[in-house]
Subunit: 405 residues, 2 copies
């Protein structure tokens, strides 16, 4: 059984975290530098953006964890350290500064940056405050770390769960930064996960790579795929279970725990999308195969017109059918049923590809809720998929009309 | 030489047009029914949306012009006659009503509808006003027709050009409805073209199919592909030139005239995109091949983040590089140069994939203009492509938050 518990990356044994304002961001109203530390070396895995333009920190992280081991994370907000002339150099310097403070190898540091693309990152603020950052590490420091990786996020994103493997209590926690430039065509946004489960590096990578296909890869805020997206996970083995080295019941429990954490983070990221007032979920069922279900769910959740209609609580289901039609999936549109669901109820709006009479009043009541599910039944098989997103609002435009200032 | 002249679909010889309010739209502040008529049967061609969900009028039009001949267009706004149970029936009834009034075969009618998807279209308003519509036909009626096909468009879209083939004066004109649900993955939006050039039906189809690849297929307002998009053209031969039946100099002139009209309509549609305050153009040069150039140009013009930045006159070129990176095109991002251009000047912002110092003040001045060109040089070949779009604004959200009311 997977049980949610308080906390985030410090919930599992042996982890501390911290966050400070060092001066990378212009305004000092929010932290801009985060650190997570495992008291012992941990197995590590990560997935990265599929954007051809890749942030320098991703390249450095990839090299550092090629041996399957990491012991710390350092991450700044305010500057993505991407598309500039000295990104790799700066990312290596940041890693070295962190490693020196922590008494570990620079090669065991996971490094990430988020913020404006294309400006040089000045290492001075980091160098001047690295001792302060290391000193901030504590079991209570995870909120400060979670705040430090936020950009336009309004809500701090963390979660932790507890589960049992071999009679040992294991924990898995995470923090995330979401908000904008989020699209399902690739890896994902910034997410740092920690666990005390003992699991081999290859199985950890396998679990993560498999999980993101159905979680972070099914999440869209604005259809833009970031250059700096990454999900990393460290597993330090301090729970004391027999190390998971192959598929089987223990791996299944671990996968389920991981999935509980990542789905929760997905929903939080979507609901806190830039300018969002609503969390949208699209559940596609009855698909001929998983690929079809996934393509349809992502097409619906990505449509600007559907997102704007949901902002206006307008049951404009024609746009849903339209998005299914242009998704590229091979399906029979004359078999498609559509319904809207929320805490206030469920209302069918389309049957066999054509409109059905429905009460606009009830539809409005349902769509005025904060969490809306768009149900799409393809009536062509038994595969299903879920995608998450948010509505498109005035504030999305406002936030992105002048992001750099 | 292609010369722009006043007028639209009635500029070529032998065409009349008209538009009225018949009651399909709730509010009578705008026409909702349009007609275009050629005094003699014309060769006809069309391209259609690639959306699997296709409006009933498209299916009917496809059947009607399968023989390469048409003589009239009827088009309503306010209801797309799509995703309902009796769409085909209603579309055939509308065609028959038009044909009866005009004394032509129902099989020679091009029919189109635009508006809300998924509601039944009541034929009564059309039946009750079809005589009035036919009576409204005149050479001066093209503006009333152009207004009748508008939905959320703010600007009436028409243009005409004059050119010479075989020493005969030929003309080609068009009207368009644009505004929302426009994306380059497919055919296009509603465009009705007329010409008095004599050209065979197969060559007319060839010209149109080829032209849209570089014009309407390179246009994006919101990334949504409509169910009802169509571009049709009628060519009645009254200019008296020798009928164009194969490629050659005459066909080249015709193609150029067609392209002049369609590019002008593309720019007008993009600049009048829902809520738009700016026309955006992305010119990609130096690509290894046309496909790469086209994919990159469309990715840039479609990015919500770039569109929002342009609304805010923010020279956030990192988002341009980002959109190039996730376009799916195979290219070397370290060779990419980016510049912004408008009537106020040109400013390079990125060289070899990295930022260059630039004056924010000058950039702002350039980006505050109404027409912005984003220049992308890939430095990898000699192929090029252009795409058109618009900025993303508060008003886009407003317009689409409650479209059906």
């Amino acid at each position: 059984m997977i049980k949610q518990i308080p906390g985030g990356v410090c919930a599992p044994k042996g982890y501390t975290a911290g966050g400070i304002y060092c001066g990378i961001r212009k305004r000092n109203d929010k932290n801009d530098l985060a650190m997570i530390f495992s008291e012992v070396p941990a197995h590590a895995a990560a997935v990265y953006t599929t954007n051809l333009v890749k942030g320098a920190p991703l390249t450095v992280t990839k090299n550092h964890i090629a041996d399957g081991v990491a012991q710390a994370v350092i991450c700044n907000s305010g500057n993505a350290n991407t598309c500039n002339s000295n990104g790799l150099e700066i990312a290596e310097q940041m890693s070295a500064l962190a490693a020196e403070q922590l008494g570990i190898s620079s090669n065991d540091v996971i490094i990430a940056s988020t913020g404006v693309i294309g400006q040089k990152l000045n290492i001075a603020p980091v160098a001047n405050h690295i001792t302060e950052l290391a000193a901030s590490l504590s079991q209570e420091g995870e909120d400060e770390a979670a705040k430090a990786i936020m950009t336009t996020d309004l809500v701090m994103k963390k979660i932790a769960v507890e589960f049992e493997i071999d009679g040992k209590i294991c924990r898995l926690g995470g923090i995330a930064k979401g908000s904008g430039m989020i699209h399902p065509n690739m890896a994902t946004m910034l997410v740092f996960l920690t666990t005390d489960t003992a699991i081999s590096a290859p199985m950890l990578q396998k679990a993560l790579s498999h999980d993101v296909q159905k979680t972070f890869n099914m999440l869209s805020v604005d259809g833009d795929t970031s250059t700096n997206d990454m999900v990393s996970i460290m597993a330090n083995g301090l729970a004391g279970n027999k190390e998971i080295t192959e598929e089987g019941p223990a791996f299944d429990i671990f996968m389920k725990a991981l999935n509980t954490v990542t789905i929760s983070l997905c929903r939080t990221i979507a609901g806190d999308g830039e300018g969002a007032t609503k969390l949208l979920e699209c559940d596609v069922t009855g698909a001929a195969d998983e690929k079809t279900a996934s393509v349809v769910a992502k097409s619906v959740i990505t449509s600007s017109l559907i997102k704007a209609a949901m902002f206006g609580a307008d049951a404009n289901w024609g746009r849903v059918l339209c998005a299914i039609g242009y998704s590229g999936a091979d399906l029979n549109v004359n078999k498609v049923d559509v319904a809207f669901k929320s805490a206030k109820g469920i209302i069918p709006v389309c049957k066999n590809g054509a409109g059905v009479d429905f009460s606009e009043e009830i539809a409005k009541k349902i769509l005025l809720e904060k969490e809306i599910t768009i149900l799409v039944e393809l009536n062509s098989g038994s595969a299903s998929a879920t995608a998450w997103g948010c509505d498109l609002t005035y504030d999305y435009v406002k936030i992105n009309g002048d992001y750099r200032s």
